[in-house]
Symmetry: C3
Subunit: 385 residues, 3 copies
């Protein structure tokens, strides 16, 4: 196994630019490519990107933004969205501390954006109106202090490991080790996050994967497929759309977002998954994860105008995106004993043929073949703050 | 026309340093010079500057600070001010999000500093005391994502174009295209800002050009000349100074600022302008703009000690620098339909002979030869929050 | 005297990397070394460090963090602490403006961290709950705009001078000139800070040196030695520990911090000092300063688990770390007339033999041989907010 440390702050290792191709990669990784690049200018100034291309699927990882994934491409099929925010945005330009708690939105444009680790969800204020927790937390705006690239000579598998810490002296000490793996020629990327409470005091965490998809997969007639056991609309606005909550409309200026909170069914081994497919069923995006690791699933629909970021969010999480104290009250904050590590595994796949989409849909439905879904017409008071 | 892209984040183009002189510029631009530089260290770390010298007038533009103009020089005559803040300051060191709403002041030292685009003016708080809009907004602390230099071979005219976006997903999407032009040998620079609401939803904007001048133009006996139709002191402090509101005193430690809000007269074609001249009338700074584009004019006098930033602000604007909701109530916020672009043109000129100053004064007075000025002794309740 | 300007923003001088050794330093500085380095990646991205090694003692200075001292080494003996925050942290990643007022803690990991200059101590809020002063102020998160290295050819003495400004237009204008000196072969570093109010208006300042030490000096049985005249525990938690307030226990998960406020005795010439020694009395850290410059001394004990930052703070200051208005009320804020400069001198020494530790202890006790200490069992209401 070849190992290249791209960044290690403690050891003064840092590689701003790198390009590994045919000549540098082992024979098993023929057709693969790794490109490390540092952006310059505008809101992206100093953002580092690592592109891993396995010959079929290409993924751009953002060490500067908490090891998020900016976008991925299956050949010409781009999986991601077109946010009106032009990113990736460097954390120094994201006003997380803004008293409104909404500054996070200034940096939001990735395919995979982690929300957490201390908190995520809607901003929370104390009784005086002072911000306690900003929208979606800080992890997506914290840079990795160590980034390492591993290439397995026997399989050609390419792995990027990043370490990001969210620490406030006397308050919290959370370390996330992210492992992102692509095998040559596959249409999927595997993400494993291990979050450790490296304090000697008990701690806790929230985590939600804000996975966002727009054109071309999202279009009028696109559909969300999942083994949904229970679903509750977040509010009356979401309730308006219940009849078609798994279908998408065309871009609609002024569309007000709709959010659906779900419990998914899982196979006996806890595996479950979801699928987004285009109207023709000829291309799609699938996700696999474990229900015991990520028990809460949120579907976000924002089919506004294309210029405003026509997008849907598929969001498996430890918790629902409510204010932190609400989630804590309902037992959806993950406790971490001193030294304890929580593990979260996620697989993202892209499909560009009807056969692949059909197979993916079968697999999703297959985890609970005889499932009947409970739809809460009125928002569930224990799920929706 | 020769075109050089200095920064284009999307296309990975970035030129940290550039120097165009005799050898690189076309014959028509003989004596001109363009220097792109990146600053290092202190609060200026990573600030990019573009100096354009047309052989007579030299202007330093700040792409990193929303395409502001740091200072300009007509030969040895420096137009700008000496802020106690040593800048230009990189936005990463300006605490715009500070709950006081005053963090903007930590980065304030330019000749031309735009205030806006979502809001400007005094900070505004909601009923709980939480900051809604910080002093003078964000545009001066947002870096340009595209910067392009054009040089016309037939005229030698040098143009710098910058694109800056102020966007918050789900809230606002404003794009400013700034065009700054100098023609060889002229004593003026032309600035055109085009602000587009690139959302499919209706939007709005504020804009005020905070144009600040200190020594040597500002001195005891220096005068402000403008075709003033109506003037209201902002508060009782300003009212104290009404007798000499268009004249300046010497540096006075402890001087409390005075602000005068004006409606200017304009020619039939809407053109108007103002002049600041030194005591002897031998040097000056003039500004031309259109009243239909910038209907509100604010004069700011802060003739404190030199060490504290002896300065006056000539501030044409869409609005007066009151809290945003006050301006909105009084119809001074510019609405922008989906896709609509508002255009603002401004010309800044420097004069270093009595003849030039006299001519400039005649031109300013000429827009409304028989003007009588209404002076409100008590602050006008619709202008002053 | 050889002088090398490492950074001068005004003059466009900046040296990101520098290494002076045998070949470059004068003969008198044989065995010394100076290394300037810029860090990359993670939270340390763009942090500049200057290491000065006098052949015996090595000190790492942080121009990017207000000329703080990250750590020092006497041979293999490291003086500093192991914060759970992995730094040094660049100010762009420290959310000082966060409404909680606690964002400063995200960047706290130095041996010597200045708290001030406008304010320090616990956060202070106005009557609406809005943050007025964040914890420990801004000076540790402001970069030096000028950094100069001087090497005396006749003595080999190496001096680093830095200038840091904390300025808000219309509010405060404080300039700190820091001089850090090491002489070849000595076991100590001298720090002199000169703070000038460069406004023509009266000003004021607070300053506290947060000097933090963990392993190996800090251990069960380590002791704090000082000529204490008066001591008051800050609160009931500190009062619990009065019996052993000058001794340290072993790392204790969940330990709640204890703070002791002291007035020290001084010699007739105002000199005084303190010592921290390990359990065996075989190694130690000493500090010398003047009581008229730094009249308030705070001892902070946080002997939590090692993973949580087992540490003690020896904190000479102009003031105690209470909210600013409390200190002002009790006359512990330093007033500065227009143009006035306040001077603060501090000497930090490291000891690695029992003889040195004994000599240091004698010197500390020697400033007031017949001292009797007054211990306030209940927190003193004029010292403890």
């Amino acid at each position: 196994m070849e190992s290249i440390v791209l960044t290690d702050v403690c050891k003064c290792v840092h590689t701003p630019e790198l390009r590994l191709g045919e000549a540098e990669l082992p024979a098993k990784a023929r057709g693969c490519r790794v490109v490390k690049h540092t952006m310059h200018g505008g809101l992206s100034d100093d953002v580092e990107t690592v592109e891993i291309d396995n010959g079929r699927l290409s993924v751009v990882v953002l060490p500067t933004r908490g090891m998020g994934i900016w976008a991925m491409w299956l050949g010409d099929l781009r999986i991601g969205w077109h946010s009106p925010v032009r990113g990736p945005v460097h954390p120094k330009f994201v006003p997380l501390a803004e008293p409104s708690g909404l500054g996070w939105l200034d940096g939001f444009d990735e395919l995979l954006c982690r929300c957490g680790l201390v908190s995520n969800g809607a901003p929370e204020f104390d009784e005086r109106g002072q911000l306690r927790y900003g929208l979606h937390g800080r992890i997506a705006n914290l840079p990795a202090r160590k980034v390492e690239l591993n290439i397995a000579e026997d399989t050609g598998e390419i792995t990027l490991i990043g370490i990001v810490e969210e620490t406030r002296f006397l308050f919290h000490q959370l370390r996330m080790k992210t492992t992102i793996t692509l095998a040559p020629g596959e249409n999927r990327v595997r993400v494993v996050d291990e979050v450790t409470n490296f304090s000697a005091q008990p701690g806790s965490m929230e985590l939600l994967y804000h996975i966002n998809i727009g054109r071309p997969l999202l279009e009028a007639g696109a559909a969300f497929v999942a083994p949904v056991k229970d679903m509750s609309p977040r509010n009356s606005r979401a309730a308006e759309g219940i009849a078609n909550w798994q279908r998408y409309g065309e871009p609609t200026p002024g569309f007000v977002e709709q959010v659906y909170l779900c419990e998914l069914a899982a196979a006996n081994d806890q595996r479950t998954g979801v699928l987004l497919k285009n109207a023709a069923g000829s291309s799609g995006f699938g996700m696999r994860f474990r229900r015991d690791q990520l028990p809460c699933f949120t579907l976000w629909k924002y089919t506004g105008a294309e210029s405003d970021g026509y997008v849907t969010g598929l969001e498996p999480g430890v918790n629902f995106p409510n204010p932190r104290s609400f989630e804590e009250k309902h037992g959806r904050v993950r406790k971490l004993a001193p030294g304890e590590t929580a593990r979260f595994a996620l697989e993202l796949a892209a499909y560009d043929t009807p056969d692949e989409v059909n197979a993916a849909e079968k697999a999703v439905r297959g985890v609970a073949p005889d499932l009947s879904t409970t739809i809460h017409v009125v928002p569930d008071a224990t799920w929706c703050a």
